[in-house]
């Protein structure tokens, strides 16, 4: 027996003192009311007679005393929070000064066991027991998704609170949580293979369970050459043969509602053509009788092409740009003369050899802008035949071969708050990137089609594609996995399902957010937003009948049906029941 709230000697002292105090208070009678009677003559006669007493009358006082002591001891024990000795092999050894409890937060931990609780609940209950068994030591709590989340601390209430708020997050942290000198307990179902140190005490909450899950889901352009998209869905049955209902909806429109008989271990794959137009959000759901993990029963997709980017080309000679946009799906380009341009609902503006008086409020690409106040140039500042040097690593220039550009002359700019990402051998900036927080992104190309072979250069479509992605899509589109996700540094806000904003952590060069549940998310930058889907879609997670824990490994098997509730709750309940018994005893006392 160990105690979570107090040291053992303190706990036993408290229990003893509580029992003694209860007995003393019971025996220390409250001064009864004084009743003056004419004479005790008759009372003496009554009491001197051998009265017939029932068994209850004889034992009632003893029962009442026992119940009173029980109430006091139960309450004292609830304060001391007793627990059984941890059954780990290490618990028998000398107590470690530090204990690190790591919970596997993969989605498979949400698999429901035969006793009705999830693997996660079972793991949390085991974590509480391990923590209670290590009372007095510094204890830390970590998860495989979030790393260290609490401690090290000797305060068990903090540990309890941390365990209460933890939920499976489905991803893997950058590294295995470490705490120097700590005895490490890892509570896992073994669904995800991990290389563990031999000193780690493994607590297995694995229990094979039947499950059906969506193991893959994605939306992609159709491969048949049409401008439509297609959705690919894969469903795995990791249980017995059963009938599975599959529904797919696009916005409010139902695309599929069918039933399929799936054999044990069977995988069902289906491709659904998605014509252009219509809602962008796609949702797949499955229902099956033998299904232990609800989290993988739903998957989401976002049809990017259904929300094409609006590009406004401000140019008096736009014909050279038209072929580029015509070949790029998901982009709707509108050409307008410089005199007629007014900012509208476009996503990107391309200024072809023209420049507005002030920097555009929309993400903009300036191609060989004429000399102007804010670009910091004069007409006569040119570098003839500039030679490229190897450019800096930047998303704008990813995959761009600069040496395919043949440049006759480059204009020399000095725009404020722009960074030169490519220079000539003489040092003249050839490409500028503006990524000032609070302002729309912008890029400046120091040469235009009249100054170079820009329209014909093989690297030009790549450069334009990069520019569109960098300017208008601050986060990489497409499906993402649940867990920690990195975003572009320009992302200011990430909005999750239910229009709930997620905390975004800023680290050098990028932003990080924790995507905790499947659904559609939106990443917002200064003047742009990107929607993306987050799904589990992982056969390793959905297969709840498999565990990577080797049978040869020394593990602490976490028993079935273990209640996640701590002892002290039961002790409180016991004390309450004892109060009821005592109350009943009191009633019997005066109504017998």
């Amino acid at each position: 027996m160990t105690f979570g709230g107090l040291a053992a000697w303190q706990a036993w002292l408290l229990l003893g003192a509580a029992a003694a105090a209860a007995a003393w208070l019971f025996l220390l009678k409250v001064r009864p009311p004084r009743v003056i009677v004419p004479s005790l003559l008759l009372w003496r006669k009554v009491l001197d007679e051998a009265r017939e007493q029932t068994l209850w009358e004889r034992i009632r006082r003893a029962v009442s005393l026992a119940v009173t002591i029980l109430i006091a001891v139960a309450l004292a024990a609830a304060i001391a929070r007793p627990s059984r000795q941890v059954r780990a092999a290490s618990s028998a050894s000398a107590r470690a000064p530090r204990v690190l409890i790591v919970l596997d937060s993969s989605w498979s931990m949400l698999g429901r066991t035969r006793s009705g609780e999830t693997r996660w609940e079972r793991a949390v209950a085991e974590a509480r027991r391990v923590a209670a068994g290590a009372a007095g030591s510094d204890i830390a709590i970590a998860t495989t998704a979030e790393g260290l989340v609490e401690g090290p601390t000797a305060d068990l209430s903090s540990i309890d609170t941390a365990l209460d708020r933890l939920q499976p997050a489905g991803s893997t942290a950058s590294g295995w949580p470490r705490l120097s000198g700590a005895e490490v307990h890892f509570l896992t179902d073994g669904a995800v293979a991990r290389a563990l140190d031999s000193a780690v005490v493994l607590h297995s909450v694995f229990e094979a369970a039947d499950n059906v899950g969506i193991t893959a889901f994605d939306v992609r352009p159709a491969l048949d050459g049409t401008d439509s998209d297609e959705a690919y869905v894969e469903i795995g049955n990791f249980g017995p043969a059963q009938n599975v209902r599959i529904t797919m909806t696009r916005g409010a429109q139902s695309l599929i509602d069918r039933r399929a008989d799936m054999a044990a271990g069977d995988a069902l794959r289906q491709v659904v053509t998605l014509p252009r137009g219509g809602a962008a959000d796609l949702r797949v759901r499955i229902d099956a009788p033998k299904d232990s993990l609800p989290a993988d029963d739903e998957a989401f997709g976002w049809i990017e092409a259904s929300r094409p980017l609006l590009v406004t080309v401000v140019s008096s000679q736009p014909s050279w740009l038209a072929p580029v946009f015509a070949a790029t799906p998901g982009i709707r380009a509108v050409t307008i003369s410089p005199a007629g341009y007014r900012p509208g609902d476009e996503n990107i503006v391309i200024f072809d050899r023209t420049v507005p008086p002030t920097p555009s409020a929309k993400p903009a690409l300036y191609i060989a802008p004429p000399a102007g106040a804010w670009v910091g140039s004069t007409p006569d500042r040119l570098e003839p035949k500039p030679q490229w040097t190897t450019p800096a690593a930047h998303p704008l220039l990813a995959g761009v071969d600069p040496f395919t550009f043949s440049i006759e002359r480059a204009r020399i700019y000095e725009p404020a708050k722009f960074t030169a990402i490519a220079r000539s051998a003489a040092g003249t900036p050839l490409v500028w990137a503006g990524d000032d927080p609070g302002r729309a992104r912008a890029a400046i190309l120091a040469f235009g089609p009249g100054d170079s072979n820009l329209a014909a250069a093989p690297a030009f479509p790549v450069l334009i594609g990069n520019a569109i992605d960098w300017l208008a899509r601050p986060a990489a589109p497409g499906a993402r996995r649940i867990g920690r996700a990195a975003f572009d540094a320009s992302v200011l806000r990430v909005i999750g399902p239910g229009n709930v904003g997620l905390p975004v952590i800023q680290i050098p060069g990028e932003r990080v957010a924790m995507l905790r549940s499947p659904g559609l998310y939106t990443a917002e930058a200064a003047a742009s937003r990107t929607t993306f889907a987050v799904n589990i879609a992982d056969p390793d997670v959905s297969n709840l009948s498999r565990s990577t824990i080797a049978t040869s490994q020394a593990t602490v098997a976490v028993g079935e049906g273990i209640s996640p509730r701590p002892w002290w709750l039961y002790l409180i309940a016991l004390a309450f029941a004892a109060v009821l018994v005592e109350w009943w005893t009191w009633l019997r006392r005066i109504t017998v």
């Binding site: 009678k29 003559l41 003496r44 009554v46």
Partner: protein
Amino acid sequence: MPLRFQDDFLKKLEYLHVVSRREFAGQNRADRRTPKRGRGIEFADHRPYTPGDDFRHIDWNTYRRLNRLLLRMFDEEQDLPIYLVLDVSASMAEPSKFDMARRLAAALCYVGLAHLDRLTIITFTKGLAHESSPGRGKGKIFRVFDLLEKMEAGGPTDLRASCKEFAARSRQIGLTVVISDFLDSTGADVGLKILRTLGHDVFAVHVTSRADRDPGAFGDARFVDAETGELRDLEVTPRLADAYMQAWEKHTEELVRFCGRYGIGYVRADAERPFEEIVLKAFRQGRFLA
């Protein structure tokens, strides 16, 4: 509490008189027959003339018929000695009980005074406490009222010692009325027996209250003996309360049985009952008043 009675009640009392089952010699002329022959107006008997007898009592008509000198005898009518022995121990201190006892004493006094009986009011606790004779005649009732109103209850009860003390003084035997709750740890029967042995016609007026008969409440209580101050912590259960009430009934039955066996009149006066009902009904049913 004032003990004064209403005039109409006093008139009712005047129609009553204390019944004595025996005749006792009195001191003064009154309207009660005595065993003495004397100067009454009620003819009783003849007896032979002896020298020295008063010539005025010779029945000359009988002499003429029988030629014998016979004296006419008349019943002597005198007053009745009535002793009201009132328990003023602490057990009587409960207001309703003590008031009932004093009012009964006052009523009996008035009945006696109205018939020129010779009253003596004696109070007792562990011995005789106070003795007073208000005199004769209805007019003395106010002295009785004053006397009773000034009485206070206190001290232990010892009826046996009190009766011994009563017997130790030379008194005319007569009617002795003991007004008490008879909660006497030394035993009330011995005292009553002493009075009976002295030749008194004894009446026991048993004054009770609800507190005597019923413990009243359940639960823990510290009972305090009003007379001795003895403490007793009791846990009164309904079963124990029943046992107490049975003990009280038994105590009362024993007292009634004792009184019946020794020819002692017994009247029970519950303090909760209307006073007039006790005087006009209970006392008459107990043949104490007529």
